[in-house]
């Protein structure tokens, strides 16, 4: 490890991350279709390869061989750049995500912030893509996406600030390290940090669903209202890249939830920790995302904002206050208890 120069290591990681995203996007689609199928008492893809495992390949080939149509009246450059604006920040976000103790492209102190910085660019991609399509449905969709993203950034960031208060660091590696040991050390169960920790996890998870435009918050691509939303006009790989970006964002959301609350690569059973634990937890969360998608109807914009302002923001603020109080009170309480015993 020592003699590999840093730039080459970074390059290897970026290539690895892109491969990871592409593979995941392909196979998460497969998984999503399988999950949807079984929830609906169907089989899902099964024709191409055993269990339909080669279906993503067929889909990918189809998408790639399709012509990228540029509709009349759009700005062709913006139209083509927009999908990349969704995918590239997602790829960049992966740079700071620790898959295991050493398997991280760049272990920087403000890793958490970096992810949010890149995630905020995502909105720009949706907005330019939707608006650049010169399609009214896409414009409505883009407007919805942005209001939704902005609205849910507030409770999400409040929760993240709470977590930073608890962990005293924005370094993702360190956050995971702090959750070493037994299951009770996971922040979701660390009630001594704040009694509302499991709720904080739920808030974070809900917000990441909303941020990634997943059902029940998929207002942006509400197919029964807006056809396909901001990517209505995209065909072939334009659509494919949007799709990859969307799945990459889901993985990022689930990874962050895993790192912040579920102990990252730490193993609950005290077994040797490793990246497979991390991936197992992430995929479990992704399964939940899919499960939720295939269970609920879609909310409306008002329902969404209502949820955010009426429930998520007050509760996360209460959590913030409680955490602050606990940080000051817990040591006192502990010494008091110690003294009593």
């Amino acid at each position: 490890m020592m003699f590999i120069p840093e730039p080459l290591r970074l390059l290897a990681f970026v290539v690895g991350i892109i491969a990871f995203i592409a593979l995941n996007a392909a196979y998460l689609v497969w998984l999503e279709r399988k999950v949807a199928g079984h929830i609906q008492r169907r089989i899902g893809p099964k024709e191409v390869g055993p269990f339909g495992l080669l279906q993503p390949l067929a889909d990918g080939l189809k998408l790639m061989s399709k012509q990228l149509l540029v509709p009349k009246g759009v700005d062709p450059y913006l139209f083509k750049v927009a999908p990349l604006l969704v995918l590239v920040p997602a790829v960049m976000s992966f740079v700071t995500i620790p898959f295991s103790e050493n398997l991280v492209a760049r272990n920087i102190d403000i890793g958490l912030l970096v992810i949010f910085a890149f995630a905020s660019v995502n909105v720009m991609g949706l907005l330019l893509g939707g608006w650049g399509s010169a399609n009214k449905y896409a414009v409505i969709s883009a407007a919805r996406c942005v209001s939704q993203n902005v609205a849910y950034e507030i409770p999400m960031l409040i929760t993240v600030i709470t977590m930073i208060m608890v962990t005293h660091t924005m370094n993702l590696n360190e956050i995971v390290m702090q959750q070493d040991g037994s299951l009770l050390n996971w922040y979701i169960f660390r009630l001594s940090a704040s009694p509302l920790m499991p709720v904080a996890f739920l808030i974070f998870f809900t917000c990441s669903l909303a941020e990634t435009n997943r059902a029940p918050f998929d207002l942006g691509e509400a197919e029964s209202e807006l056809i396909a939303g901001y990517h209505t006009e995209y065909s072939g790989m334009g659509f494919g890249v949007f799709f990859m970006g969307e799945y990459a964002n889901i993985i990022i959301g689930c990874s962050l939830a895993t790192i912040l609350f579920l102990g990252g690569w730490q193993c609950p059973l005290g077994l040797y920790p490793g990246w497979w634990w991390f991936l197992a937890k992430v995929y479990l969360l992704i399964f939940c995302v899919m499960w939720i998608r295939w269970t609920y109807p879609r909310t409306t914009l008002w329902g969404l904002l209502n949820l955010s302002w009426k429930y998520l923001i007050p509760i996360s603020l209460v959590n913030l206050l409680l955490t602050g109080a606990m940080i000051k009170l817990w040591p006192l309480l502990k010494t008091f208890l110690m003294g009593a015993s």
């Binding site: 929830i39 169907r42 089989i43 499960w291």
Partner: protein, 147 residues
């Protein structure tokens, strides 16, 4: 305040219950039929396109060319013709063409037939590249079946 929490908990509970139902269905076996690999058994009364029935002994059509089916058909998709051979008592069918592209499978032709000369086929997965593939020469089909 109480209302607020009631709504919060009630709502959350309804969401959890929903998740429970879908996961319950997820572990149950699938109910769909894998169509091209397994084929469907049509019920005895299934109304497919029509088919001429042959006489059990001779194999010739039972049709007497009365034209009732042609008249009964709302869509005008049956065209039949017959001739009276020298010395015969009854007319003999020379051609019976069903234009299946127009047929609405109402079954009025079968009902109108007094002689039991036509029946419903059980064929249901018809697909073809051309329109002409659905202009059935029923007489030829009958001859192919019986001979």
């Amino acid at each position: 305040m109480g209302e607020y929490f009631k709504e919060l908990f009630g709502g959350t509970k309804s969401l959890v219950v929903g998740l429970g139902i879908t996961i319950k269905h997820m572990v149950k076996p699938v109910v769909t039929l894998q169509y091209p690999h397994e084929s469907l058994k049509m019920s005895a009364r299934f109304r497919g396109h029509i088919e001429l029935l042959g006489d059990e002994e001779t194999g010739a059509s039972k049709c007497v060319v009365c034209g009732m089916c042609q008249r009964a058909c709302p869509s005008g998709c049956i065209a039949l013709a017959g001739e009276k051979p020298e010395g015969a008592k009854k007319k003999v069918l020379t051609s019976y063409v069903l234009d299946f592209t127009k047929c609405s499978l109402c079954g009025q032709c079968v009902e109108s037939c007094k002689f039991g000369a036509i029946t419903f086929s059980k064929e249901y997965n018809l697909a073809g590249p051309r329109k002409e593939a659905y202009i059935f020469d029923l007489k030829k089909r009958l001859e192919e079946r019986s001979g």
